[in-house]
């Protein structure tokens, strides 16, 4: 072991959840030393790509109850209602804090913060900074974090293992990507905030770094991943790249049309009723998929697959430039379409994982001292389908809560014995060194990754069927075996991105295993999990959370009850 670093709290991930957690720790107890460990520089974190907004009740004509009910209904009744209640109560305060920290929220003429409409929300409660909300939130948090001397960054450090001893988490093993050195980064609490694993699929809005790292770390430490079968397809990704075109484009009045120019969400029954383009994402992605299957998709020369049209022309250049300038820039740069003059071709694209590390409302896991927040976690805010603009706020509300709780935890908790933790980090180092430049006889990282993403697309698309999910689960298990034969060619210690890509692939394979196993166990359709062979929701048998743990011979499935509260499940119709 080259070096052992000592902190009070170790935060893994420097996006919105991780940065908010770090600031919460600094605010709770300025004496605590925080390590902010990120495999990138924090301002590169994928929060940066969020576009449309962050939800919190702001207007006199809105209510916390309405935000809570919209979220419960959006979750297809799989969200835990006490969590949702807490979330909507704390959401306004968190967005006000960001305002105080300098976030350039867009404004009404009277200087109050402006809000816009979003899918599945009954009123305008989505705060925005034009259509670069994630970018502004991330940079505001990052720059604010710089004022706290005790938040110490370990940039470009890749966490390879959680150091757990006697049921307590005492830090992480991390590869310093620049030097190639493995370090034991010790702390009496660890918060996982590494985002989701959208890169397990081939067509995704997610940046290259979204590789499920925190989920996989927890899974390999024996924790359950919860509700992993629920993955969100955003209705509007650009052809080819999958780059996100924000839901705010529809919130500002954009229309979805098929090849015949028909607003199919109005002319046909897709369950969204009068909400039309402002229905929830799961339903709109299904509607587009069905339109394409019925032969009413739009073809594009040189692009595989078919698309719908997102038509913004009637909004006019002035509104597009003031409210949706990034949408215009992205469409022009990446598909050569100016939305002022032409409709944007779009199709459903893998965007977000509702599932994640099973936590309680404090972000705490079953391992003492280990927390998770943001997309990495499944605190059960989003259930079977997340509403757009709830996730940025989720990062803030639950990042703050896990930060505050971890600060309280370390006041009481003893560290596990250091020798054992360092020993565990040494084992991680040895494993890594065995991988570096390993001349296995098998495939390259890119070949194995392609096989994985193909299996996930075929088995866990917008619509799934039992046989396909089972086949995908078997394929992922088999690919996990092939990982052992991986062929690596880069023996260098300095900024070796072949080895980090291999570590990311290993993480994605763990995430993919949990997704496919959980998906095959849910023989109903709920939220984003739409089974062609079980098209109805089945509350009698499936009103429960799915849990997948890593057993001795592979993934083990389990379940736990949903916490209802005010609202009993009812038919989800808009």
């Amino acid at each position: 072991m080259d070096s052992v670093l000592h902190y009070d709290i170790v935060i893994v991930g420097g996006g919105a959840a991780g940065l908010r957690a770090a600031i919460a720790v600094a605010e709770a107890d300025p004496q605590l030393r925080v390590a902010l460990v990120s495999k990138v520089y924090p301002m590169r974190s994928h929060t940066v790509s969020a576009e449309g907004g962050a939800a919190a009740v702001a207007r006199a004509d809105d209510s916390l109850e309405a935000h809570a009910y919209d979220t419960v209904k959006g979750s297809d009744f799989l969200g835990d209602q006490p969590v949702i209640q807490y979330f909507v109560e704390r959401a306004p305060e968190e967005l006000v804090r960001l305002e105080h920290w300098g976030c350039p929220w867009s404004r009404n003429d009277d200087g109050t913060v402006a809000t816009r409409a979003f899918g599945g929300m009954t009123t305008k409660r989505t705060w925005f900074a034009t259509d670069k909300v994630g970018f502004h939130i991330l940079h505001t948090l990052f720059q604010t974090s710089l004022r706290y001397e005790r938040i110490e960054r370990l940039d470009e450090h890749f966490v390879t293992k959680l150091l757990v001893q006697d049921g307590r988490c005492g830090g992480v093993a991390a590869l310093d990507i620049r030097s190639g050195e493995t370090r034991a980064v010790l702390g009496r609490a660890v918060i996982l905030a590494t985002g989701g694993g959208g890169r397990a699929w081939p067509f995704t809005t997610n940046g290259a770094i979204k590789t499920g790292d925190g989920m996989a770390l927890a899974y390999r430490a024996g924790l359950a991943l919860k509700d992993m079968e629920f993955v969100q397809y955003h209705p509007t990704g650009l052809p080819g790249t999958g780059i996100l075109i924000t839901e705010a484009a529809r919130g500002e009045g954009g229309h979805l049309k098929n090849a015949e120019g028909e607003r199919f969400l109005i002319t046909r029954d897709y369950g969204v009723g009068q909400k039309a383009e402002l229905g929830p994402r799961d339903m709109i992605s299904r509607a587009i998929t069905q339109e394409i299957a019925a032969g009413r998709g739009v073809s594009l020369p040189g692009k595989t697959g078919e698309f719908a049209h997102l038509d913004l022309r009637h909004l006019g250049a002035a509104k597009i430039d003031s409210r949706l300038p990034f949408v215009r820039e992205l469409a022009r740069t990446y598909i050569g379409v100016d939305p002022v003059h032409e409709p944007i071709p779009v199709r459903p694209v893998l965007h977000y994982m509702m599932g994640g590390v099973d936590t309680d409302i404090d972000g705490a896991t079953q391992i003492a001292g280990l927390y998770a927040a943001g997309e990495t976690a499944c605190v059960s805010l989003n259930g079977a389908n997340r509403l757009g603009s709830n996730s940025l706020t989720e990062c803030l509300v639950f990042g703050a809560r896990s930060g505050a709780h971890s600060a309280a935890h370390v006041r009481e908790a003893d560290a596990p014995p250091e020798a054992a933790l360092v020993e565990s980090a040494r084992a991680a180092e040895a494993e890594l060194e065995a991988l570096r430049g390993r001349q296995g006889g098998g495939e390259t990282v890119a070949q194995l990754r392609d096989a994985m993403t193909r299996a996930m697309e075929e088995g866990t698309g917008v619509y799934r069927e039992q046989a396909g999910m089972r086949r995908a689960a078997a394929q992922i298990a088999e690919l996990g075996g092939r990982f052992a034969q991986l062929r690596l060619q880069d023996g260098s210690r300095v900024f070796n991105t072949e080895i980090t890509a291999a570590l990311e692939l290993r993480n994605l394979l763990d995430v993919a295993a949990a997704v496919t196993v959980a998906a095959a166990e849910r023989r109903e359709s709920r939220g984003a999990h739409a089974c062609s062979d079980y098209p109805e929701r089945n509350d009698g048998e499936y009103l429960h959370h799915s849990l997948v743990r890593l057993g001795d011979s592979g993934p083990v499935f389990d379940k736990k009850p949903v916490e209802l509260g005010i609202w009993e499940p009812e038919e989800r119709k808009y």
């Binding site: 990138v40 520089y41 301002m43 590169r44 974190s45 994928h46 940066v48 790509s49 305060e93 967005l95 006000v96 804090r97 305002e99 105080h100 920290w101 300098g102 350039p104 929220w105 867009s106 404004r107 009404n108 003429d109 009277d110 200087g111 109050t112 913060v113 670069k132 970018f135 502004h136 940079h139 720059q143 604010t144 710089l146 004022r147 940039d155 620049r178 940046g207 290259a208 770094i209 780059i243 996100l244 040189g302 990034f326 992205l330 740069t333 990446y334 050569g336 390259t444 990282v445 890119a446 690596l488 060619q489 880069d490 260098s492 300095v494 900024f495 070796n496 991105t497 072949e498 890509a501």
Partner: protein
Amino acid sequence: MAEHTKIIAVTRFDPERDDAPRSQEYEVPVQEDWKVLEALNYIKDHLDPTLSHRWSCRMAVCGSCGMNVNGEPKLTCREPLSNYGERVEVAPLANFPVVRDLVVELEGFLEKLGALKPWIMLAKQRAPEEGATRQSPAELADFKQFSMCINCMLCYAACPVVANEPDFLGPAALATAHRYNLDSRDEGAAQRAEIMRGEGGVFSCSYANECAEVCPKNVDPAGAIQQAKLANVLSWARSFVVRRRAAS
């Protein structure tokens, strides 16, 4: 989509093996609508897994993939390959220490950014219970452009002052400090003034305007620095008048 090949000449450097950077050529089958980054990713996945470069969002907002393309700093995920001929040279951003291949060291920039206190400073912190501050659309417009910096570092690679004066705080960091000074919610300008007008501060800028020309987000750091120079001169003059009045 029609395919043809281009020669991508990549600057390689591994401090464990190389004494000096070297150029390595790859023949890449490219598609017409590819960006420069897609050619690099093709090399990484299909030709040479030992190539190191940074990238993530591939939608021009995370700022990871800045490189010099044919000598000009570019965001490679945004830069069409079709802008170039049959041979394209890709090198690490100029004016930064190279870690390996196309990866440069950003520690210096982050230290400069932090030194400029890029956060809201108030004599008395606002409490969340006070609710959101009012800020008119005009007040927002005063600083919004300067808040759009993605820290891609193209401006540092282009800046002739950064090239000669490593301590120059540089375009992105100074524009960000100026952004906070202009924010109607901030009271920290006086605390940023000393470093902004000190050695390596705004007065080091020779207004070559290269930063504004290469910025992929139209931040106009040169404009921010010019404004900051003026603000600093005015505040210095004001303090002089105030001292004279106090003395008389």
